[in-house]
């Protein structure tokens, strides 16, 4: 999941997920590049307001709240066989977002 961070938080080993461009649009680093210590240093000297790195997304609510909301949304159809399957898949998907 892409997350925007300020340049001061960059560390070697992070992967860039969106191209880093200068103010004039020139691409400095393309998506998919893993940062080396030299790159981090050079980027921090440039006038750029931040970049997107690959990071697990921070969730705005807790797992319990997310599952509670899921139950709530499915309440009128909770006993329908197809919806039971769909809900189980969603539950796994939501729980997966909080792993690690």
């Amino acid at each position: 999941m892409a997350k925007k961070i300020p340049l001061s938080d960059l560390e070697p080993g992070m992967t860039i997920v969106k191209p880093i461009t200068m103010k004039n649009g020139m691409v400095i680093l393309g998506a998919g590049v893993e940062l080396t210590p030299a790159w981090v240093e050079r980027l921090q000297d440039m006038d750029i307001d931040g970049c997107y790195i690959d990071a697990p997304k921070e969730q705005k609510i807790t797992t319990e709240e997310a599952i509670l909301q899921l139950d709530e949304r499915f309440q009128p159809v909770a006993d329908r066989p197809y919806m039971i399957r769909l809900k189980a898949i969603l539950r796994e998907h939501i729980e997966g977002l909080y792993e690690k």
Binding site: A2, Q69, R73, F74, Q75, P76, V77, L86, E92, H93
Partner: protein, 279 residues
Amino acid sequence: MKSDTIINVRRTRIENIISLPTVPGNLKRISNIIEKPGLTLDEIGCFVASDPALASKVLKMVNSAMYGFPGRITAVSYAVMLLGLNVVKGLLLGIAVFDIMEQTMRGLWAHSVGCAVAARCIAEKKGGKDPEEFSIAGLLHDIGKAILVLEYQKEYEKAMEGAAEAKIPIFEAEKKVFSDGHAEVAMWLAEKWRFPRNLVEVIAYHHRPSLSQIAPLETAIIHVADIIVRARGIGFAGDFYVPDLNTQAFDLLSLSDVDIKEILQKIDEATDEIYDSTE
């Protein structure tokens, strides 16, 4: 008979809605060009290119996760050629509708984008040709809600309250207030905008996919995409509960658990992008 008359009156009113002062200028200009009989790709390309603000919005949309082309498209002429007439028409309407959706029902845009991404993803899995057309169908399937709120705000609020109280989907609550609903309204507009018959059916029957005659697969895809996005709880589409799946439509697509998880992931990514860009 009486309800037929009411519906006809409403149809005329909706079809003429574009000339109303409440409708943002963008939609008026876009609707005018789209209605033109025999519109060519060149004409629509020139129209977009002549308006820098519009052109930059088109490029932003084309390069967003909704379409997912590899690489970056930077020229309007190329985008238009790549997407084809119907997709460009839909894209322009999508841009125009964004303004109305933001103004009438917060969350409807996120719902529509989620649906566009989900529909495209399902279409690709099913090997459909022109997956971009599904993005358009997903993006526009709820346009009727925005138009109804714009034109019948009090009545629509009543329908939304009714849906919340009775825990029924909004399209059922609409029937109690309007006798027709957002799908019909969107169908009238899609016909007025000269969209192809299959796209009109998809929009008209996305809640009742078994009624579709010429595009049952396409309609099933939008129906299922709509429900998956609601199940994920993204955006707001007028009600708080997930409507029931049409089991025939769902079986027709035979999606595996893994397929559905992949769709969910794509929806999450695309809608995160919206929230990021509005921050």
